[in-house]
């Protein structure tokens, strides 16, 4: 928790229980309430890949300033069972309060230990006695939280009717509101004023609360993508599920394929025919796509692949976060071909980079990968409304029928100074050509002449030589004069920012370079940054330091780069980073 005077400016609430308890539902409603009350929200879910029975916890962090990740500790803890308390009680901050249903063996007694308050709060019992159904325990829990956090009842009631009115009717809305009031009343009776964590209310300016997956889907729709083919896989499926609802209204099509081989090949077929096409995947699905990834490179077909990383190798931990597929997309697949790998660091960037990805794919006629992670792929954050006037669609050298008719001797793979050839679509007059998975000549027909091979290889590979101007350069944050540098990509954006702040409070100044394009590698900018540092820490959610290796493969670094790695399946907490840097530089 952070405070300015008596005013809370940053707080973290954890809701924990077993899968099937409604932890996600309760947390999502709380997140929405806080967002509407004008707070910047960032959620963090730690769920098993299982429908029922296994422990699960969900943290909702709210801050008066923008936040991009989870906090170091928990201030208010709502536990649906004692198991959750045993597992997470040590994460409670001083001054924190815990409410536990206390079912099973009561591991805690109402007490105040080391300035943390522990209460038994019989959620299920209250639900059964008052509503004859345990399902109301979630609303009772929310009611109790609303008392502790001083939430606005009108906001909560509004959200409850949005959730239930259409699907379940007025009666259920009223029952839920009754449960909410009961929870609030019971908390009033139990919780002392010293344990209240009142939050202020302010305008939310119509901000959105959404996940990175949803932002990618929204970006795809805004970018003119109208063909999406994918196979279900955690934690990427939310992209598809959002598009499946909204594509038909915009004359778009979502196809569930038999596997990821089909997904990418189908997207390539659609793109070849002229659609802006996309697929999404994770973990092993990405491996299956490697085959067609090469085809996209060889046949020069634009396509966007959103890969939401999860814990690997193999099936790994499907619902947990990691950054271990950088190697796969930067180096993976057979043969050599131009590719672009973008790494959004925030939900806003998930939206912006998706639009960028479609334009890059069309302009450079190559596959573009959006590499994200479960952490911000599935978790929710408050974001400002997207500026739709900034959305620009650039289809590169895609020919219109009129342009094509003016071309004598059309060659789909014509040798050009920039390596990019104009693209005709099947069905167009005067554009007849072949698309070959084999090496081919300028018309697209198979050609195994080694002279042609050399020229074709050079044609394709030079497409990205001058792409730098269109790619997203790395951004440097923090104290630019400092000689302590941190480098990261993707979801480490949030914790690194906070770590820099924590270090500053300890008198250590640091700067941070956020990598936004992983490939083509932004050599010059990274070199400049490294040149301005005496010590560099690379922060990554993986075991072997894939970004660190990538940087070292591209640049001669005159000093030893230190890796700060986390392969625990959990996102970094800011202190994990700041403490390691603190220790190293002292």
């Amino acid at each position: 928790m952070k405070k300015i005077g008596n005013k809370i400016t940053d707080i973290s609430v954890m809701i924990a229980g077993k899968a099937g308890d409604g932890v996600l539902f309760t947390g999502n409603v709380l997140a929405k309430i806080l967002k509407r009350q004008g707070w910047w929200v960032s959620t963090y879910r730690d769920f098993p890949s299982n429908i029922r029975g296994e422990p699960t916890n969900y943290s909702i962090r709210a801050s008066l300033e923008k936040v991009y990740g989870r906090a170091d500790d928990v201030d208010v803890f709502m536990a649906f069972d004692c198991g959750a308390v045993i597992e997470h009680a040590d994460k409670m901050a001083k001054g924190g309060i815990l409410l536990c249903d206390g079912i099973g063996i009561a591991h805690i007694a109402p007490s105040r230990i080391d300035s943390r308050t522990y209460n038994i709060f019989p959620l299920r019992k209250l639900a059964r006695e008052n509503f004859k159904s345990e399902i109301y325990k979630n609303m009772i829990a929310l009611g109790a939280l609303s008392h502790i956090l001083h939430l606005n009842f009108r906001v909560i009631e509004g959200i409850i009717s949005e959730v239930f009115l259409e699907r379940k009717g007025e009666k259920i809305v009223q029952e839920n509101i009754r449960a909410l009031r009961l929870g609030c009343q019971k908390a009033k009776e139990m919780v002392g004023t010293e344990d209240l964590h009142p939050l202020i209310e302010r305008k939310d300016h119509g901000r959105l609360l959404l996940s990175g997956d949803e932002a990618i889907a929204m970006g795809a729709l805004a970018a003119g993508c109208r063909y999406f083919a994918a196979y279900p896989i955690c934690p990427a499926t939310e992209i598809w599920q959002w598009l499946a609802v909204h594509f038909p209204g915009f004359n778009g099509l979502v196809v569930q394929t038999e596997d990821e081989l089909a997904a990418l090949n189908m997207a390539l077929g659609a793109s070849y025919a002229g659609a802006r096409a996309m697929t999404s995947t994770s973990g092993p699905g990405g491996s299956l796509m490697m085959e067609a990834f090469s085809l996209a490179g060889m046949a020069e077909i634009p396509v966007v692949i959103a890969h939401v990383q999860r814990v690997g190798p193999s099936t790994g931990m499907p619902t947990k976060t990691e950054q271990s597929d950088l190697d796969q997309w930067v180096y993976g697949a057979h043969g050599e071909f131009p590719r672009i790998v973008l790494s959004p660091g925030t939900i806003e960037e998930c939206f912006d980079f998706t639009i960028k990805a479609f334009n890059l794919a069309d302009v450079y006629q190559c596959p573009v990968v959006l590499l994200t992670e479960q952490d911000y792929g599935q978790n929710l954050r408050t974001v400002r409304k997207f500026d739709m006037t900034k959305v620009k669609i650039d289809r590169g050298k895609l020919l219109s029928q009129d342009q094509l008719e003016g071309i004598r001797d059309y060659k789909r793979y014509r040798f050009t100074p920039d390596g990019v050839s104009s693209r005709a679509l099947p069905g167009m007059k005067n554009g007849l050509h072949m698309v070959e998975s084999n090496e081919h000549d300028e018309y697209g027909y198979r050609d195994e002449d080694s002279g042609n091979r050399i020229r074709m290889m050079q044609k394709r590979m030079k497409k990205l030589e001058n792409a730098g101007k269109d790619l997203v350069p790395p951004k440097v944050w923090g104290d630019k004069e400092s000689q302590i540098g941190i480098i990261g990509f993707g979801s480490t954006f949030g914790p690194i920012h906070e770590a820099i702040f924590q270090l500053k409070e300890e008198g250590i100044r640091a700067k941070y370079m956020q990598m936004k394009t992983l490939w083509p590698f932004p050599r010059k900018k990274v070199e400049e940054f490294l040149g301005s540092c005496e010590e560099v820490f690379i922060v990554e959610n993986n075991f072997s330091g894939q970004l660190s290796r990538l940087i070292r493969s591209q640049i001669q670094v005159p000093f030893k780069i230190k890796n700060i790695l986390n392969y625990s399946s959990q996102a970094f907490r800011p202190q994990e980073i700041s403490a390691q840097i603190h220790k190293a530089v002292q």
Partner: protein, 286 residues
Amino acid sequence: MKKEKDFHLSDPTWCRGCGLFGIFAALKKAAVTLDLDPEELVVVTGIGCHGRLNNHFKTYGFHALHGRTLPVASGVKLSNPFLPVIGISGDGDAYSIGLGHFIHALRRNISITYLVVDNRLYALTQGQTSPTSDMGYVSVSAPYGTKEFPLNGPRLALASGGTFIGRGFSGYPKQLAFLIEKGMAHKGFSFIEILSPCVTHNKVITTQWFRENIAQVEEDPKYDPKNRTEAWKKLSSEGKIPVGLIYIEDKPSYEDLVLPDKERPVVFNDLNLDIERYEKIIEKFQ
């Protein structure tokens, strides 16, 4: 009206006597009969000797990865259903590495005409055993004879929900052209297996062998290709290989079921967004 020569880009280089010559002739004939234009027809092929068809058959062509003919063809057809799409595979392409796609394409029923050129071995890679090689067949990959039972493509197609199942023989290009025409006029997925000898690697299953071992389904005047039970019996019976239109069923095609606007294919969308409508959707996240 186009002529066959309008679809003839170059003379093929297959081995003399290869079944693919007959298939190429049938394709050109069907394209002319259907009054198609090379610039509207899309032909997606897989890996194998059949894949060279794109080098000779003058159409928009896509030579896909091994086994991935159908996903590519599906993507083309679904994003622009105005284009007639033919997919071509070999037995290795369709029944081995691409088998998953085959079954799902059949049950999806997208209007693609899919020709599977069955020569009962992998010809391009020098004659290895394929999923349709006979039990005991000796090849470079099974020098002591294969110990696997062969796969029956048309029967699998029927079991997978196929709505148009035909079988032709490369030695009868006229009948084959007729089947392709029928298939292309069919609403939904049309699958035609083509028996086609490999003159170089297969010294057992030759053109002559096929002539002696196939039987026309239409020779039985009572045979009704609309009857699924009869079709199953026909495909399961011992003896000669049934050839002709084996099964046909009227079922809605996938593109008719899923495409929001039948008159305006996905590829013809105006990509500029109706921002007001878009923002209305996004509001739900407030």
